[in-house]
């Protein structure tokens, strides 16, 4: 799924567009606890979309560490300028939707995005 399709489906706005926009995203992962994210998407190469309610810089840092190309912020939260700047420096696309997390996930799942694969360890 292209970034543009994700924007269309979730009626998202682009907060930060620097990054690999032509990437084909197959998987998504939604979490507010960064430790959960770190644990779960630990092994796979495929590009993953991170859906989160966290707007702090830690969300961008998590994305950098896990090679996640795009972050989707839910519930229309205000994203601090610092977070956007950090994303810009590191080429991580930042999107924002007004839907709540449940609806965002549902909409994307319906359109064929799969849950990020993870190994039970």
């Amino acid at each position: 799924m292209k970034i543009k399709t994700i924007i269309d489906i979730t009626k998202a706005e682009t907060l930060q567009k620097n990054g690999t926009t032509d990437i084909d995203i197959k998987y998504a992962f939604a979490a507010d606890l960064m430790s959960d994210t770190l644990f779960i998407i630990s092994r796979e190469e495929e590009p993953v979309l991170l859906i989160s309610g966290i707007t702090d810089q830690s969300v961008v840092r998590t994305a950098i560490i896990l090679d996640i190309p795009a972050v989707l912020v839910v519930r229309g939260k205000t994203v601090p300028q610092k977070t956007i700047e950090l994303a810009k420096e590191n080429n991580i696309i930042m999107l924002r939707t007004h839907y709540i997390m449940f609806v965002t996930c549902g909409l994307l799942y319906k359109e064929g995005l799969k849950g990020a694969p993870w190994q039970k360890r």
């Binding site: 979490a31 092994r43 190469e45 702090d56 840092r61 950098i64 039970k120 360890r121």
Partner: protein
């Protein structure tokens, strides 16, 4: 070829939530540059699994760094990179860990509300490191500080000579009686260790191996948790106290009971791992 070692060091300040992850990201950049530019690192088999390797290291480093920021006053994050593995050392001055077993239990957290609002303090940090790194060592002194060491190894070294075996299969073939309920039987193990002395198990048993013993007291669960042992096989049909079983179920550890003695079960297990 001469072996080269690179050492990176970053200071970490406690409660500095604005810069959580900075030391990790900077280290990651330097390691990446070393992989790309330096002959010694480029020629090792790192290059095949570079991304996975970097990611595994990044996760451990991030969790370790977050721990210092959340709990301690200040700390030092040292990375030692050599051709075969990468080692992280995080040493801090702070309150120390009151109970290491509690700290290793998933979901247990003493993080502040500030940390939790930033998405940290889920109580899975140390557990994550333990699961992802190939080696971890944790030392903590109450009131003084904590030191955590972890190593991530070259992927190939890790897999040589090990054959995975489903726990389900082991229980079936060895005709064991399953004692714990609601546990994950699909998990795979690659080795086994037979011993009744807990300290020996702590020192020598491989991570994620099968443990064969006649000990049934509650402490065996603590040891299994620390060594990430998914299954304990109790030999000679020893009676298992109720509390041991409860604790095992809480920690997702399987206990299975066999009628034969340790020697016989060991032998059968050995054959089983060879056969596959």
């Amino acid at each position: 070829m001469a072996e080269k070692i690179k050492i990176f060091q970053f200071p970490i300040k406690g409660s500095d939530f604005d810069h959580i992850g900075n030391a990790t990201i900077e280290t990651r950049k330097l390691v990446k540059i070393a992989f790309e530019k330096e002959e010694c690192f480029k020629n090792t088999s790192f290059s095949d699994s570079n991304r996975d390797f970097l990611r595994r290291f990044g996760i451990c480093a991030y969790e370790a760094e977050a721990n210092v920021i959340i709990h301690a006053h200040y700390g030092l994050f040292k990375t030692i990179l050599c051709c075969k593995k990468i080692k992280g050392e995080v040493i801090d001055r702070g309150p120390g860990i009151p109970s290491i077993l509690n700290a290793l239990t998933p979901g247990f957290s003493t993080a502040s509300e500030t940390a939790k609002s930033l998405g940290f303090g889920a109580g899975v940090g140390l557990n994550n490191i333990q699961k992802i790194a190939d080696f971890t060592m944790l030392h903590s002194e109450k009131g003084k500080g904590t030191s955590l060491q972890f190593e991530v190894w070259k992927a190939k070294d890790n897999e040589i000579g090990r054959i995975a075996m489903k726990i389900k299969q082991i229980i079936k073939v060895l005709k064991l009686e399953l004692v714990t309920k609601n546990v994950d039987m699909e998990k795979e193990v690659k080795s086994a260790y037979s011993c009744d002395l807990l300290s020996n198990v702590l020192a020598k048993a491989g991570n994620e191996s099968t443990w064969l013993t006649v000990q049934t007291n509650i402490n065996i669960i603590g040891v299994a948790t620390i060594k990430r042992i998914p299954i304990i096989i109790i030999a000679e049909n020893s009676t298992i106290p109720r509390q041991t079983i409860v604790k095992a179920e809480e920690n997702g550890i399987i206990i299975a009971k066999g009628k034969e003695d340790t020697f016989t079960i060991s032998g059968k297990l050995y054959e089983l791992f060879q056969k596959e």
